[in-house]
Symmetry: C2
Subunit: 201 residues, 2 copies
């Protein structure tokens, strides 16, 4: 017999990085706290799904037709960073250094897993390039083989579109000791080494 407590544990188990033991602890916590605290969490989950949709231009999460980035006057609308998923938008926004806009692909190409170009928001990107005054596309995909292949696919796709296609720099992560850096990262950091201009005229 499965009771409501076990059902809740099962539902919590399906969340990322929540095992059975954590799920039990969370479920018992939700039972022990005041009822309105538990109900308010449940309502937040429902409300986030009801209110938060996708921006019609960049496909980031948004409560309105256009997300705050797309509707902002202070963002450079001619600069578009292509990312895989909304979490990547949050990561880049947190850096505080990016003043352009985004385009959320919804994944990367992975033909073996059935993810072909028509499964991603590539035609929407193509349409944006035709319609908007886009000057540069920054490919902000990850470092997996699929992501690299997607980056190359996009660069080829837009080569005749009079738009500059760049990608995020590859090299040493901040604060990393050289001896712990993997060989591929080190090779890339060597290949793409930059000139040090400090102190020169």
């Amino acid at each position: 017999m499965i009771g409501p407590l076990e059902e809740l544990v099962e539902a919590l188990c399906s969340l990322p990085s929540i095992g059975r033991k954590s799920a039990w602890r969370l479920a018992l916590h939700l039972m022990e706290r005041p009822e309105d605290e538990a109900v308010s969490l449940a309502e937040s989950i429902i409300s986030v799904r009801r209110k938060v949709k996708h921006c019609s231009r960049c496909f980031n999460f948004s409560e309105n037709e256009l997300c705050p980035v797309c509707s902002s006057q202070s963002r450079d609308q001619s600069l578009v960073c292509i990312v895989e998923k909304p979490a990547d938008v949050f990561a880049i926004e947190k850096s505080g250094r990016y003043r352009g806009t985004f385009h959320v692909l919804g994944g990367v190409l992975s033909p073996l897993n059935g993810i072909t170009a028509d499964k991603l928001r590539i035609s929407e990107l193509k349409a944006r390039i035709g319609k908007e005054q886009i000057r540069e596309l920054i490919v902000g995909l990850g470092g997996s083989a699929d992501a690299e292949a997607t980056a190359i696919y996009l660069a080829r796709l837009f080569r005749n579109d009079n738009v500059r296609v760049t990608r995020l720099a590859r090299g040493l992560p901040a604060g990393m000791e050289l001896e712990y850096v993997d060989q591929i990262t080190l090779s890339q950091a060597l290949c793409e080494r930059t000139d040090m201009q400090y102190g020169k005229e």
Copy 2:
């Protein structure tokens, strides 16, 4: 401006061992999965609070007036293990070795924090001893100073009640290397050492 996504992150942050980073990951996961999966988690939380109440006898979680342990014919109703909270009942049940029933105190005495005997379910336990045929009380509280004090308080309280009061054995945890065991545990394991009867008649 705080949107629904930030509200959900705040609610998730209040859960035990969920920090801001995990809360963001969980919230984005709930946005990316099919909507019914997120809604079903929310409904589980509400349902667990609506359906699961306290057993009227032992105060463990229960969907009915009496919990499965209290209403079971195969459990020894004359044996009562006193625990702090429902999670402790689950822990003992998981060991699979206990055939008695429980009494959930709802905490341990902690006068400095305002938790006096009347805040716990001690009068309810006293009433059970008068009403039910209870032969033995096993004090199954933790090892904190407050828990030890509560154990002594209970042993004194019931000394004239014609009921045996015992407590869980203290000693080495299973699989622990001797060199890593703390001094108090080692002292207790020494004091409460048991005879080895194997091979004797």
